[in-house]
Structure formats: structure tokens, C-alpha cells
Amino acid sequence: MRNPLSKVITQIQPSGIRKFFDIVSEMKDAISLGVGEPDFDTPWRIRDEGIYSLEKGKTFYTSNAGLKELKIEISNFLKRKYDLIYDYDKEILVTVGGSEAIDIAMRAMLDPGDEVLIPQPSYVSYVPCTQLAGGVPVIIELKEENEFRLTKEELEAAITPKSKILVLPFPNNPTGAIMEKKDLEAIAEVIIEHDLFVLTDEIYSELTYLDKHVSIASLPGMKERTVYINGFSKSHAMTGWRLGYACGSEIIIQQMLKIHQFAIMCAPTTSQYAAVEALKHGDEAVAHMREEYNGRRRYLVHRFKEMGLKCFEPYGAFYIFPCIKEFGMTSEEFATKLLEEEKVAVVPGTAFGDCGEGFLRISYAYSLENLKIALERLERFIQKLRAEKDA
């Protein structure tokens, strides 16, 4: 029999931490700080709207690009929140989560050999999506001393004549880093100078704790060279509804729509009706969740300080990224030992790129009570490690 598989797919590495997670799920009283999705249920009004749409029999396909009503609400939301102007009719595409948008943006924009600049540590799908689209991932290693922001110099150093797309994953999973307006302005110059396009994944944009979130697409000259990606999973605690969207110039969005209509048809109809409600009346629920995360974030920063665990203060998403280099172990060794000895599960930083070595991703999408117990265990663990080292 011939090999049924393509070279491209067999060359893509599966996520390396699968094994680690399998241990976690078998351990009964383990406390996990590993999950990357909100601990809140979807706000009731949104769920109610989904139920209501089912009762009314709204169970058909929507148009390929999404419900008109939803696209209008998305357009209003982006204007109201981030000063972004997108024509609902031509420049917005409703997708199956932000993940689909990442995939089809790459496929619509890349030719074989085109390079995609991917800052790491970052979410795990940018590299494989680039490869599946025939592109070549070029990793930019972000540094703790810059609070894991992308600097102009780092970007410039990575650019080659083949560079086509820069991925901007901020607010960032796993570091919690954000890019402020001044940071974006600095790199926007370079992007324009080198005629790059930007794929900005702003799925955590509603969860920032410093000033108002700024999108690179709102800077002068950037809209036409940016594909803006957002969704409902993190902001409205709607992960399982699988709903996101991509916005950009008509030229790009219409080509993405082609892939979407042939591969997906349309995003789930029930989810789209629920999302209309989320955008119309969800601001208060979002603000409430943000405040809740922010309290936990302050608590974690404070506790790490108390423990003497080195950690920059994150201002976005719901992750904190402490440094464990002082213990002389790899992230994976540390995480495995922590799980075995104290039954606390965290994700090794290396799951998000090699430069995550020496760091852990801790999610605070967990109740304060949970966090408190987990941190007591973590504190006991690192005290033990320090004592062993001194002995």
C-alpha cells in the first residue's frame, strides 16, 4: 500500500505536552492551573438567546460570511471599543473560533516559501497553520527583560526579502504580555517600510488591565495591511460555541471567504444568534469577569513577590509567566516534579516555543480559593527546592 499521508502533515510535530496532560487527567486530587479557557459559564442572557433561537427553529445555515445582524454588531463593537472601522458587508467574516480565522488567513495570503514572522512564546497554532499553508515559520524569540513585548529591533533583525506576514499575538497567551500604543507605533513603521502584512490575534483584547487595549489595525496606514482576528471565547466565556471573526480589507477577506465557504460553509447558527446578544447586551458581564480576573491577577503577582519567584507583571489575558531558572531545572522537569510532589498542574513554558524554557504558564481562570490552595502548594515546593539547593 502507498503511504496515505502527505509529507506536509507528517512533518508537523504534535503538541509535545500531550503526555504531560494525560498524567494530570489521571491524577484524582490534582489541582490544575493549566486550562486556557474562562472558568465562568457563558452569561445566562447569551445562553438564553441561543436556546430561544433553537426553539424558534433557527437551525439552518446562515450566509457564508455570517448573519448580517451579527456582522453589524461586530462592526459596532469594534468601532465602540477600539476605534476600528470595518464595513460589515465586505470586510467581516464570521468563523469557527479565532482558530479557523488564523488558518484561512494564512492559506489566503501565503505562497510556498513565504516567510511568516512568529513571536514566541505564543499560542501553538501559528507555526503549524503556516506550514499547512506552505509558508515558512520564522521565530522571533521575545525576551523577559522586555516583558515579552515585540521590539522594533527584534522585528528588524528577523526580516528577510521573503518575509510576508507578521503574527501579532497580543494580549499574549502564555505570557500575559501586552503591546501598548507606543510599542505598536514603533513596529508599525518597520512593517510599512518592509511592506509586511500583519495577522493580529486579539482574542484576549477584552482582558487587559492597564489602559484601554489598542489594536495595531487602528494605527494610520495599518488597516489595509492587517487581518484582525477576534472572537467570543475569552471575552464572553464562549469557548464551546466556537465562534470568532476576521476583519480586513475586502481583497483579503473575500479570498478567505472562499476557503471558508468550501471547507466550513458557515459558523454554527445557534452560536451566531447567541453572539448577537453577547455584543448587544454583554458589556456589563464582560466587565464583571474582567474585574474578577484582575483581582486574581493582583493576588498572584503579590504572592509571587512574597515567594521571591521572579515574575514580570502581566497586563493581559489570564496568564502569568513566572521564571523558574533559579532552580536549575527545565520547565518540563519542574512542572512534572510539581505535579508529582504537590499535585499542582501548570504548563511548561516550552509548550509555547523553545524560548519559553525556564518559565511556567499559570492560568488564573480559576476561583480564588483554588488559586490559594495551589499557591500554598507551589510555595511549599519551591521552599523545599531551595532548601535542597542550600544543603
Partner: protein, 160 residues
């Protein structure tokens, strides 16, 4: 600042002061002072425990009683409300807009005890015109808290 403190402690009054300050991003002394001031000013009227008595062996009967009254000259409803709320078995008294005047929430050990309170104490008050007693059969949600047990964390571990 006050609003921030109140919003938090309304749901969790047992939190440690130092922790509360950290979570709110405020100085501990400032939070302590505000709390003291709000207690003094009776903005904070008490710190209670929300109990699901159904899960204990204690027998309790709760009722919501709709009371129509004749307001008294010069004192409106306040005087009659006071006569009612002073009974220790009365949990809450609200002045209500709509088809009756006062809503009285009360608790007794038995049905008879509540019935006796209504017939002997409440109905016999001079300005009470009529009462309508509604017994509570089951509490689903109280003070913004759902009484049913929280479901476990059902999020699955997946590739981050």
C-alpha cells in the same frame, strides 16, 4: 473605592483584610479605614451567613406575608412597619408598591407557629386590614446565590 470594596465583600465577607487590599490593588490601611467608616455610618449593616437550612436537620418554615395596612397620619407606614419588624421571628419587612403595602418575611419552627403569629400578632394590629400568607416551599436562589451545589470543573485539558 467604597463601591469596589462593597461589591467584593457583598459576595465574600470572610476575606482576610490583607488579601482584600491586594485583590483590589489598594493599600491595606486605606481599606481598613474605609471599612470602619462604612460600619460606623451603617453603610455596612452586618456580616451574615447564607445557610441552606434544607440541608440541615433543623425544621424551619418560612413565609412571605403580604400585608395591607391603613397608613397613620403623620407617620405614614413607618410606625406600623416598626411594630412588625420588632418581632424577632420577622426577618425582613419591605414597603411595596402594588396591590398591598408591606411584605413581611418570617421564619418559624412549625406551620402552626407561623399561623399563630399571623392570626394572633399580625392580623390583630389595629391598622392591618388584611394579610395573605405565602409559604416558601423551596429556595432556589437567595441573595444572588444559587442554592444547588456547584457542578465540578468540567473543562477538559486540551492543547493550550
Amino acid at each position: 473605592m467604597r463601591e469596589k470594596i462593597l461589591t467584593f465583600i457583598e459576595k465574600n465577607s470572610r476575606i482576610d483584610l490583607a488579601e482584600l487590599a491586594v485583590i483590589l490593588g489598594e493599600d491595606e490601611a486605606t481599606v481598613a479605614n474605609e471599612l470602619a467608616a462604612m460600619e460606623e455610618e451603617h453603610v455596612i449593616c452586618g456580616y451574615h451567613t447564607l445557610i441552606n437550612w434544607d440541608k440541615t436537620s433543623m425544621e424551619k418554615v418560612s413565609a412571605l406575608i403580604e400585608v395591607s395596612v391603613t397608613p397613620q397620619r403623620g407617620q405614614g407606614f413607618d410606625k406600623i412597619a416598626e411594630r412588625i419588624y420588632n418581632y424577632p421571628e420577622v426577618n425582613a419587612v419591605y414597603l411595596i408598591s402594588g396591590s398591598y403595602d408591606l411584605l413581611v418575611s418570617m421564619e418559624g419552627k412549625t406551620l402552626r407557629e407561623v399561623a399563630e403569629f399571623v392570626s394572633d400578632r399580625l392580623s390583630t394590629l389595629e391598622s392591618v386590614l388584611s394579610t395573605k400568607t405565602n409559604f416558601i416551599l423551596k429556595k432556589y436562589k437567595d441573595h444572588g446565590t444559587i442554592m444547588a451545589e456547584k457542578s465540578k470543573d468540567e473543562r477538559m485539558l486540551m492543547t493550550p
